[in-house]
Symmetry: C2
Subunit: 363 residues, 2 copies
C-alpha cells in the first residue's frame, strides 16, 4: 500500500482517538477508551488464516476511575508524541519515547513515568486499539538480522543491490516499512536461524548458485526481520523456506515466522507468513544422512519445551507431531552446523538443494 496514504490514515486514527476523548469531555461525559485484552486467554489460533490472532475481549479504561487515570494520562501523552513523530516523519526507539515524555507534571510532584516498564505496554495498547503496527507509529525496538541475494531494495533514495555486498550483507533495520522492492530476480527466500550457517552459505555462494535471497535471523527473528519476510512474500510472491536447528527452540522460531507470536498476536497479519515451509533440521534427517554421532542429548529444558509445543494448536499438524515425537523417542537434538561433519560444502551442495528441489519440506 502507498506509504504516504497509510501515514495519513495513522495520523487520523491518532487524531480520532483524541477527538473522541475531547468530545466526551465537552459533553460532560467521563472519557474512556476500549483496549483489546492481550492476555493468553484472548489469543486464538485462527485455523483459516493459519495465524495467531487476538480475540474479541476488550477492557475499558476510564479517566474518572482512580485506578485507571494515571494510565489514561500516560496513554494520551504517548498517543500525542506518536502523532508528532508520524507528522514530522521522525522515528524513535521505545526508550527514547520514554525519555522524551518523562517529566514532572507542572505544579505537582507527580512524574509522567517512573520507569520504561510503564510506557512499553501502553504502546502495545495503542497498537492494538488503533490497529496499527508499532512501526507505523514510528516507534521501534532493536534491530537484528542480515539479508543478501538477488534483490534490489530502495531505502531512502539509495538503490541497494543485495547481490553486490560481498560477504557482508545488508543489516536489517528495526523498521522496514520504507523499503521498496525494485528488481527481484530471486526465486525464493531462505530464512536461516544461525549467523554461522548464514556465513557458511554465503561462503559457498549458495544464494548466487541457487538464485535465492538469504536472511539470517540470528536466533529468534526480530520484528523488522519478520516484517521483511512477510512483505517480500506478499509483494513479490516468493516462497519462504525456513532452516533452523533441529530442536524445540528452532521449531518455535519457524512457527513465529509462519504463524506469528503470542505476544504480538495483534500484528500476526503483518508479521506472520503462513505460507512459509520448513526444510530442516528434521529428526528424519538424522537417519537419512547418518548424523547420529553429531546429535546432542536432550536436556530437561528441551524436554519441557517439546511438551509445551505439543500443546500449541499450531503444532497439531501430523508432520510436526511426528517430528516432536521422534525427538522425544531418540532423546536427541541436532544443530544446523552438525552438517559440517559430512563436509563444509555438504549443506550447500547436497542437503539444501536436494531437499528443496524435491519439495521435501514440512508444512
Amino acid at each position: 500500500m502507498d506509504m504516504q496514504k497509510r501515514r495519513k490514515e495513522v495520523v487520523s486514527k491518532l487524531k480520532g482517538l483524541g477527538e473522541e476523548i475531547t468530545a466526551d469531555v465537552h459533553a460532560g461525559k467521563a472519557p474512556k477508551m476500549k483496549v483489546p485484552q492481550r492476555g493468553l486467554n484472548n489469543v486464538v489460533f485462527d485455523k483459516t488464516e493459519n495465524l495467531l490472532r487476538l480475540g474479541d475481549k476488550k477492557s475499558s479504561r476510564n479517566f474518572l476511575n482512580l485506578a485507571h487515570s494515571r494510565k489514561f494520562m500516560q496513554t494520551m501523552i504517548i498517543a500525542g508524541k506518536a502523532k508528532e513523530l508520524v507528522e514530522r516523519d521522525k522515528t524513535a526507539s521505545i526508550r527514547e519515547l520514554y525519555y522524551q515524555l518523562k517529566h514532572t507534571i507542572a505544579n505537582t510532584k507527580e512524574n509522567t513515568f517512573e520507569d520504561q516498564s510503564e510506557s512499553d505496554p501502553l504502546i502495545v495498547d495503542l497498537e492494538t486499539s488503533l490497529e496499527v503496527l508499532r512501526e507505523e507509529l514510528h516507534l521501534k525496538a532493536d534491530d537484528k538480522g542480515t539479508i543478501i541475494g538477488n534483490i534490489v531494495i530502495e531505502d531512502s533514495g539509495d538503490f541497494i543491490d543485495c547481490n553486490k555486498l560481498g560477504r557482508s550483507g545488508l543489516a536489517i533495520p528495526s523498521i522496514v516499512e520504507h523499503y521498496k522492492f525494485k528488481d527481484v530476480k530471486a526465486e525464493y527466500v531462505l530464512v536461516i536461524e544461525t549467523a554461522a550457517m548464514f556465513d557458511r552459505l554465503v561462503e559457498e555462494k549458495y544464494h548466487t548458485k541457487n538464485n535465492c535471497i538469504m536472511i539470517s535471523t540470528k536466533g529468534q527473528a526480530a520484528r523488522g526481520c519478520r516484517r521483511l519476510v512477510n512483505r517480500i512474500h506478499k509483494e513479490k510472491k516468493l516462497p519462504i523456506i525456513v532452516f533452523t536447528d533441529g530442536d524445540p527452540w528452532g521449531y518455535y522460531i519457524y512457527s513465529v515466522v509462519k504463524a506469528g507470536s503470542m505476544a504480538l498476536a495483534h500484528e500476526s497479519l503483518r508479521l506472520g507468513t503462513p505460507e512459509a515451509r520448513y526444510v530442516g533440521m528434521t529428526m528424519t534427517d538424522i537417519d537419512t544422512y547418518g548424523l547420529e554421532k553429531v546429535t546432542e542429548k536432550l536436556k530437561d529444558l528441551d524436554k519441557k519445551r517439546i511438551n509445551e509445543l505439543l500443546m500449541y494448536p499450531w503444532f497439531q499438524k501430523k508432520e510436526w507431531r511426528e517430528q516432536l515425537k521422534l525427538m522425544t523417542d531418540k532423546g536427541v537434538r541436532i544443530e544446523q552446523q552438525a552438517l559440517a561433519s559430512k563436509s563444509l560444502e555438504f549443506v550447500a551442495e547436497e542437503y539444501l538443494p536436494e531437499k528443496i528441489n524435491s519439495g521435501n519440506l514440512l508444512p
Copy 2:
C-alpha cells in the same frame, strides 16, 4: 599487509609446528610444544603501547605426559584442519570445526572430542603460540555490528559504497581480513554502543552532515568490529571516537576498543586501538546539559563493577578516576538515549558536534 603473503606465512607457521613435532619423533625425542599461559596472572598492561598484552610465561605440553597427551592430539588435529582451511581458502565457525573433527579414533572407543568446550581453548592456544589471529586461521566467532558512512569497501570483488545503503548499513562480518578500503573520504570514525543511538544518528544524517563513518557495536564489540576499527585507524589514519552509555559497562566497552580485553590479550595489537578517544556519556555531562532528571540510580552490580574498573591499571588516568568517582558520588548512571529528553535532534545537532569540534574528549 598483503593478504596472500600473510596467508603463506600462516600456512608455514602451521607447517613449522608439525615439522618440529615430527622431527622430535624421528630423533627419538618426546614431542612437546610451548604454549603461552593465558591466565590473568600472565596478562599485563603495557604502558608504552597502552594495550593489554600477554606476559612471557609459558607452559609446556608434552605428548608423553599422560595428562597432556589427549590435548596434544587434539591440538594437532585442530592445527591440521586450520592448515587445510587456509590452504583451501575456506573459513569455518569454531562450532563447525568441532563437528568436522569429532569422530571415533579408528580401532578405539576414544572420541577425538566429547564437547566443543574441549576444542575452543585449544584454538586460542594455537593463536597465541603461533602468534596468528583466529581469523587468520580462517576460524570465526559470531558477527555483530553495522557500519555506514563515507567509505568504499571492497569485499570479495564487490565495491560497497557505505554511503549508499539507505538507513540500513552494512552488516560487519566476523572476519574482515579480506576487506580492502578504497575511497575513504570520511574524517573520523564514531563508534556507538547501542543500536538505537546508531539508528537515531542515521535518521539525523549525522554521518553525512559531519562526514564521518559510524559503527554500531550493539553492546560489547565483537572481534570483527574491533578489528575493523583497528584496521581503518591504522590504514586510513582516521581518528576513532567512542560514544557509550555513562555507566561502568559502557566505559569498559570503550576500554576494550582502546586497550583490548583480558581474554584476548594476545591479540591486542590487532584488535585494540590505543589512540581512540571518548566523547560520552560522561558524568560531567549530567551537570553541563541538565540531565539529572533522566539519570538512573546505581544498582549494587554497577557499584561492584565501578570498583573493579578502579583496580584496572588501564583505568588509572586521572580523567577516568574522576568520572568513576563522580559516578559513585552522584550514585547515578546515564544512558545515551537519555539525551532524547532534550529533543530527538539534540544529540546530533548539539551534543556530539559541540564536544567533538571543541576536542572535549577523554583519553
